[in-house]
């Protein structure tokens, strides 16, 4: 594995605050660290046991539904409703053999807004 950690040429002009987007918005080949705060305790516990713990780094093998991510050699398929609740912070580096494209992602609204939306009735799987 030759994963380049070369910084973006324009990295100096980027804001210090890292972009945080839903996992569903990442593209194949993207790398990101994940936040699982929006998941229920049960979901967090299960994902943690499967290797997807808070702030772990993953590679996106397939974007969309399902979202397939790789942690070490493990590939996890995550349904859209769960993936939408996982917040990803894309790594500020070039993915292998590709262009950097995190700038196309629309950042998440502030956390308070999302909590309000959820409180107003977000559809649940069950």
């Amino acid at each position: 594995m030759t994963f380049s950690m070369t910084p973006r040429p324009d990295s100096l002009s980027r804001p210090a605050e890292p972009r945080r987007v839903p996992l569903t918005q990442l593209k194949r080949g993207d790398r990101a660290t994940l936040e699982l705060k929006d998941l229920s305790a049960h979901e967090t516990q299960l994902l943690g046991a499967m290797g997807l713990s808070e702030h772990c780094e993953v590679r996106v093998c397939r974007a969309g539904t399902p979202c397939i991510v790789q942690i070490e050699a493990t590939r996890l398929g995550i349904a859209a409703d769960v993936a939408a609740k996982i917040v990803a912070t894309p790594c500020e580096c070039y993915p292998e053999g590709g262009q950097h494209h995190t700038s196309r992602l629309s950042p998440l609204p502030p956390r308070d807004d999302r909590e309000n939306k959820r409180a107003s009735g977000q559809p649940n799987r069950s």
């Binding site: 516990q45 299960l46 943690g48 713990s53 397939r62 790789q70 070490e72 349904a79 769960v82 799987r125």
Partner: protein, 669 residues
């Protein structure tokens, strides 16, 4: 799991998990296989135990317990294959079961030692799991699987170094090739409580990373590489359109194979037991004993074994498919549709299987990890139109639309659609009522793509077939014998009409033997019809007639419907007998005779409204006692079987009533 520290692990009592008293190596009589899902645990179990294994439920649960024996040195050791779990402390049935089993709370399966199976390509998570199970305090052997794949990825697994970090025997094994199995057997006698070398304040995650760095070369080489082939396959198999098309193709091939290949052994079983039944009747006569043996016992055996070819083929092919890694991807494709009805993607295969026969369909719900999802799928699977319904559909759609093949075809298709719609809506209703509750999040580990193991698939098939015969088969046979008794007793005397025909036949034997034979055959039919009418089952039909009258059924149709609760396909043969035909009669003559058949009051037996009502009833009703027996076995309770029977039959009754009355309202008599 990752938040545990050395202090947590040093004391099982402190962490809340009771510690089992370690046994001396020579006392090791039972070993538990523990590990994450998809680490090759079952393949290892099959290699260790071969055919010396049986499946039962763990006490007080519906989770499968596979128990077998293997030879370790000069001793026989019992091996318990615990369900694959990601962590012992999860609030999931399989985690609870593993926890209880390892801590000794389930005395029936309490092991003296455990073999923790870990995947060489996924060491971080597996080492964390190993560290967490050591809290049980049991003597441990670590079996590292998938080492060949790890080597292909450029990893070099040093078992000796890992053993130094876990302080218990570590063996590299391959369940597929058998490499390392002898060493694993020998290691059982050296099993020691695993004590991970956690430093003061070190987290399990940090420890796992350190072990990998020191014994493999670092987590950056432990399988973080980019597999473009797997990426492309995943993209295709889970694509909304391409994935669905591939899945449809795979399922079509699967069921084509099952239908075409199972047909021959099923016909063979039918033929064999037909011949055997005739021989038994010849040997023991047509008296009570002969009738019990030929119709009750031989008929019951045939009724059980006839399902076996479909069950074996389905499980063999599904196990192969699961082993390739494809099924986990397919589950996501179907999840998009199934989740709208409260079912997981994995429910699709059992529901599709139920179109062949509900029995293997219900048994294949073991693919579904969540208990509620599994029960919901079991309960709705019999709504799918199985092959046993086909003769009834053919008979009734032909009666409804004689000489109108297009309309008959549409009605036939509608039967399948009504069944599937009822199944999905019932599932939705169940998940919002009696099976309400949190679903397991649809997060699946996608195993690596690999060639399936035929050996392992054969063992699994053998195991499933044996489980079916031992558990469900005995119940099906008992039901068949009871149903035989209900329809065979009390014995009715020969009717006057039959006696007259026989007398005429006797006088014609010399001059016109063929006419004599025909008269005797007619006399037998009349007696058989009389026997069925006056048997306990027939009397039940008369008693139940008022219940079915609102659906347009008379005494004869009520009797035919009641007998078909044993198995739906009986309806066609019973109806033919009731209208004076041979039960094996086929073709246009049968339809013509049925159209002319009359009720006791002289009105036609099959009016369009009655035929439609019957058709709807047969689409929805739970008329298969073997299915109820398997539901009870798979759900672990008669309560679910009773609910399934009551709901399906109740829904069938209401739908048939509405159909009958609705058609009358529109002037269709």
């Amino acid at each position: 799991m990752a938040s545990h520290t050395a202090d947590d692990l040093s004391s099982g009592v402190a962490s809340g998990t009771p510690v089992a008293a370690p046994r001396a190596p020579e006392q090791v009589r039972r070993v538990a296989l523990v590990g994450n899902p998809n680490v090759g645990k079952t393949t290892l179990f099959n290699r260790l135990c071969g055919l010396r294994a049986k499946t039962a439920n763990f006490p007080g649960s519906t989770v499968d317990a596979r128990v077998g024996t293997c030879i370790a040195g000069d001793r026989t050791v019992e091996v318990v294959d615990l369900p694959g779990v990601y962590a012992l402390d999860l609030d999931l049935p399989e985690s609870r079961l593993c926890r209880d089993c390892l801590s000794g709370q389930l005395s029936e399966c309490q092991p003296d030692a455990m073999i923790v199976v870990i995947d060489a390509t996924n060491l971080t998570r597996n080492l964390q799991f190993l560290a967490s199970v050591t809290r049980a305090g049991l003597p441990t052997i670590v079996a590292i699987t998938m080492a060949d794949i790890a080597v292909r990825k450029g990893l070099s697994i040093d078992a000796r170094l890992i053993a130094e970090h876990v302080r218990c025997p570590v063996v590299i094994v391959s369940g597929r090739s058998g490499n390392g199995i002898d060493q694993l057997m020998q290691a059982i006698s050296r099993a020691a409580p695993c004590r991970p070398t956690l430093r003061e304040g070190e987290t399990v995650n940090a420890w796992a990373t350190r072990v990998i760095e020191e014994s493999v070369g670092g987590s950056h080489v432990a399988g973080t590489d980019h597999d473009s082939v797997a990426d492309r396959l995943d993209a295709a198999f889970t694509h909304p359109i391409a994935g669905s098309a591939i899945f449809a193709g795979v399922m079509a091939l699967l069921f084509l194979a099952i239908f075409s290949l199972a047909k021959f052994p099923m016909d063979g079983i039918d033929w064999l037991f037909g011949v055997f039944g005739s021989l038994v009747t010849e040997w023991f006569g047509e008296g009570p004993l002969g009738s019990l043996l030929s119709q009750g016992i031989v008929g019951g055996l045939a009724g059980t074994l006839v399902f076996l070819p479909q069950i074996c083929l389905l499980f063999f092919l599904l196990t192969l498919l699961e082993d390739t890694g494809y099924l986990a991807r397919a589950a996501f494709v179907m999840d998009r549709v199934m989740c709208r009805f409260g079912l997981p993607g994995q429910a699709f295969v059992p529901l599709l299987s139920s179109h062949a026969c509900a029995l293997p369909g219900i048994m294949s719900t073991r693919l579904i990890p969540d208990h509620r999802d599994r029960i919901a799928t079991i309960l709705v699977a019999p709504f799918m139109s199985c092959s046993a319904r086909v003769p009834v559909y053919v008979l009734l759609t032909t009666l409804l639309f004689r000489n109108q093949p297009i309309l008959a075809g549409l009605a036939f298709t509608a039967c399948y659609l009504i069944g599937a719609t009822a199944a999905l809506l019932t599932a939705l209703l169940l998940r919002k009522s009696v099976l309400r509750g949190r679903s397991r999040p649809m997060v699946l580990e996608l195993p690596s793509y690999k060639m399936p193991s035929i050996r392992s698939a054969l063992y699994t098939t053998y195991d499933r077939a044996k489980t079916f015969l031992v558990n469900a088969g005995t119940m099906i046979m008992a039901i068949c014998i009871v149903m035989w008794w209900l329809s065979a007793y009390p014995k009715a005397d020969a009717t006057a009409e039959a006696q007259v025909l026989r007398a005429q036949a006797e006088s014609l034997v010399a001059t016109n033997p063929s006419e004599a034979e025909s008269l005797n055959s007619s006399a037998d039919h009349i007696d058989l019809r009389n026997q069925r009418t006056h048997s306990f089952a027939g009397r039940l039909g008369s008693i139940a007639e008022p219940i079915f009258a609102p659906l347009g059924f008379d005494r004869q149709l009520t009797f035919a419907t009641l007998t078909s609760f044993l198995a739906r396909e009986v309806f066609a043969s019973t109806t033919k007998i009731l209208v004076g035909l041979d039960e094996n009669a086929e073709g246009e003559g049968v339809i013509a005779t049925l159209e002319q058949a009359k009720r006791d009051d002289g009105t036609p037996l099959f009016t369009p409204a009655t035929s439609a009502s019957l058709l709807v009833f047969f689409v929805l009703a739970m008329q298969c006692l073997p299915t109820l027996a398997v539901t009870r076995r798979e759900s672990g309770s008669w309560r679910w079987a009773a609910l399934q029977f009551a709901w399906m039959s109740g829904l069938a009754y209401v739908a048939a009533f509405l159909t009958y009355r609705g058609l009358h309202l529109f002037g269709v008599g």
